[in-house]
C-alpha cells in the first residue's frame, strides 16, 4: 500500500511541475501588469507542437531548448504588436483579445499540424522506469518533476536574489513608484511576458511525451493554469508553486479518494479560494 501512495505522491508532484510551468508566466504577468492572458494556454500548445516538429528533425534535446525559445519569440512579438497595447485597456479587452487569439491559434494549429493528436518520443536516455520506495515510476516523469523543481528554484533565486528580480518585485508591488525611481516597467513587462511565454512553451514540449498534443489543449490547459494563479496569488513565484502543488494535489488525490466528485472539485477549490482569500494564498502586493 505504501507503494501506491508513493506513486500517487509522485504523480501529484509531476502534475504540479507541469502546472507550475504553465502557470508561472501567467501568474507573474497577472501580478505585474494586471494582465489576464487567456492565450497563455495557446502558447503552451504551440510549445508542444513546435517541439514535436523540431524533435522530428533534430531529436528531443534540441526540441527541449528550441521550442521554448521559439515560443518566447512568439510571445515577445505578440506583446509588442498587440498585447502590450491591450494591457492598458482593462480586464475586459484583455480577456477578449486573448480569447480571440485562442480562436486564431487553435485554427492555425489545425491548419499546420492537422486534427490528429501527436506525441513526442523522449530521448532514449529517459525511457524506462526506476524503483522508488517500492513503486515503479517512469524515468521521464521524474525528469518532468526535476525540470519543474529546477525551474521553480531558478526563478525563485532570480526573483529574490538578483537586482533584476528586485526590480520585478518592486514593479509588482507598486508600478508607479517603481517608475519614479527610474525602472523602465515597460521593458520589465516585455521581459516577463517573454519569459512566461518561454516557460509555457517549455511546459508544452515537456508535456508532449505524456499527453498527446491536440488543438483542444489551448483551452483545456488554460483553466487549471488560471486556477493555480488565483489560488496561489498573483505575481509571485512561490505562490505559483504552492498553487500548482495544491491544484495537482486536489486533482490527483481527488481522483483517488473522491472520484465521483473529481470533475467538480477543482472548480469548487477555485470558488472557495475566491471567497475565502480572493487575493491568493501568498500575496505579493504590499502597499497597493
Amino acid at each position: 500500500m505504501t507503494a501506491f501512495w508513493t506513486l500517487q505522491v509522485l504523480n501529484a508532484l509531476q502534475h504540479a511541475a507541469l502546472l507550475f510551468l504553465i502557470a508561472a508566466g501567467l501568474s507573474v504577468s497577472f501580478g505585474l501588469m494586471g494582465f489576464v492572458n487567456l492565450a497563455h494556454g495557446a502558447l503552451y500548445m504551440l510549445g508542444a507542437f513546435i517541439g514535436i516538429s523540431v524533435a522530428a528533425q533534430t531529436g528531443f534535446w534540441v526540441a527541449l531548448i528550441a521550442a521554448p525559445l521559439a515560443v518566447s519569440a512568439i510571445g515577445a512579438l505578440l506583446y509588442l504588436c498587440l498585447l502590450g497595447r491591450v494591457a492598458r485597456l482593462g480586464p475586459m479587452p484583455q480577456v477578449l483579445v486573448s480569447f480571440g487569439l485562442v480562436f486564431i491559434a487553435t485554427e492555425l494549429v489545425r491548419i499546420v499540424w492537422g486534427d490528429i493528436p501527436l506525441v513526442l518520443d523522449p530521448s532514449a536516455a529517459l525511457a524506462g522506469r526506476v524503483d522508488l520506495a517500492g513503486a515503479t515510476y517512469p524515468v521521464y516523469r521524474l525528469f518532468v518533476i526535476c525540470i519543474g523543481a529546477a525551474m521553480a528554484a531558478a526563478l525563485w533565486l532570480g526573483v529574490n536574489r538578483t537586482n533584476l528580480g528586485a526590480a520585478l518585485r518592486a514593479s509588482v508591488e507598486n508600478p508607479g513608484m517603481a517608475r519614479a525611481i527610474g525602472i523602465r516597467t515597460e521593458r520589465m513587462f516585455l521581459l516577463v511576458f517573454t519569459l512566461g511565454a518561454g516557460l509555457a512553451g517549455l511546459g508544452g514540449v515537456v508535456a508532449a511525451p505524456i499527453t498527446a498534443a491536440n488543438p483542444g489543449m489551448a483551452v483545456s490547459a488554460l483553466i487549471p493554469a488560471l486556477i493555480v494563479t488565483v489560488i496561489g496569488g498573483m505575481g509571485n513565484i512561490a505562490g505559483a508553486a504552492l498553487g500548482a502543488l495544491i491544484v495537482a494535489g486536489i486533482e490527483v488525490f481527488g481522483a483517488v479518494l473522491f472520484p465521483a466528485a473529481s470533475a467538480v472539485l477543482i472548480y469548487a477549490a477555485l470558488a472557495v479560494a475566491l471567497i475565502w482569500r480572493p487575493e491568493g494564498l501568498l500575496v505579493a502586493k504590499g502597499a497597493r
Partner: protein
Amino acid sequence: MKPFVFSCLLAFALPAHADTTVGLMLPASGNYAALGQDIEDGFRMALQEAGRSNIRVIEADTEADPQTGLTLARKLIMQDRADVLVGVVSSAVLGAVRDVVHQAEIPLIVANAGNSDATGKDCSAFITRVSFSNDQLNRPMGEWMAAQGISSVYTLAPDYAAGQQMIAAFSDAFTAGGGEIVGGEFTPFGKTEDFGPYLAKAQASGAQALYVFYGGADAVSFVKQYDSFGLRDTLPLYSVGFLTAPLYLREQGTSAAGVIGALHYLPSLDTPENEAFVDAYQKAHPDTLPSEYVVAGYDAGRLLVGALDSGAEGRAALAAALPQVAYTGPRGPLKIDPVTNNIVQNVYVFETVEGPDGMTHQVLDTVEAVRDPPNGCAME
C-alpha cells in the same frame, strides 16, 4: 453581408438538377473534425465507385454542437429538400436531430454516433445506422474475455454518456460470463490528460486485466502512459478497439503492442473485398490506412447506392429500401436488422502487434453477425 447570404439561400432554393439530394452532416471544425473528414472521404469513395453522377451532396458543418446540427438538419430537410441525410458523428447531435428526422420522415444514415438508444428505445423507421452501437462492440468483448478465463477486470472510461454506456454493456456481458468487475473509474471528460493516478489505482486493485474506452487525444495519451508505467506485464490492457484504431496507431507506436480490442473493422482484414478497398483508398491517400470511420462513410454510401439501385426514389421509398440492402463489404458481411435498423456485422477481436511496416492489427477471433437486442425499440 445579408444580401450575399440571401443570394446564397436563393441559390440553395433553386430546383435541384440531380435526382437525389444528400445532406452530409459532419463536423469540419472542432474536436471531431478528423473523424468527419474520414467519413466524408469514405462516402465520396462509394459514390465515385458506383459511378453515379445524379447524386448531389450538400455539406453541412455541424461541429459537435447540437444547436448547429439541428439548425442545419432543418435547413437540409426543409430548404434543400434533401432526400436523405448522412453522417452525424456526435451522439448529442444525433439526439438533437432525432425528432426532426422522425417527424419529417426523411431517412438518416448514421455513420458514426454510437448511442445504443438511437436504435433502441429511441429508434425510428427513418434512422438506419451503418457504424456500430456502443452495446454491439462491448458486449462481445465482455463475453469473449470471460470465455478466455479472465476472472477479474478493472474498467476506465471518460465520464460521459458513451463511456458510461460502453462500460455498462461490457460489465453486463462480462459478469454474465462469470467474470467479476473489481473496480472502475469514470475519468472527468475533456480534462483528464494525466491518467497516472487512475493507472496506479487500477494496478492496486489486483484485477487480472484492465478494460478501457478512450478515443481521440485521450487514446494516444492513455496508451503512452500505460506503457510508460510498465503495466504491460502485470495488467494486460483490453479495450473497445477505438483505443488503438488506425487513426492513432502511428502516434502510439510500439506502446500499443499487445493491446487487445474489439472493433467492427480493421484495415488488416484478409478478405478480397477489404484488399480492394484498401488499395482504392491508398490511391487517394498514399501511406495511410483507412480507419473505421472511412469504412462507415463508405458503407453509408454503399447503402444509399444500393437503395437507389433497387429503384427507390424519394424519402419514403428510400427509408423503406435502406434496411433491405445487404452485401459483403470491406468489413465483411453486412445487413440491417429490420427490428432496430441497426447494422448486423462481424466484430473482430484483435491484438495490436508490431508488423514489418510498423504497427498493425492481428485478428484473434471473429464474432459473427453481431445483432443488438431490440432494447425497447418499437417501430411504428
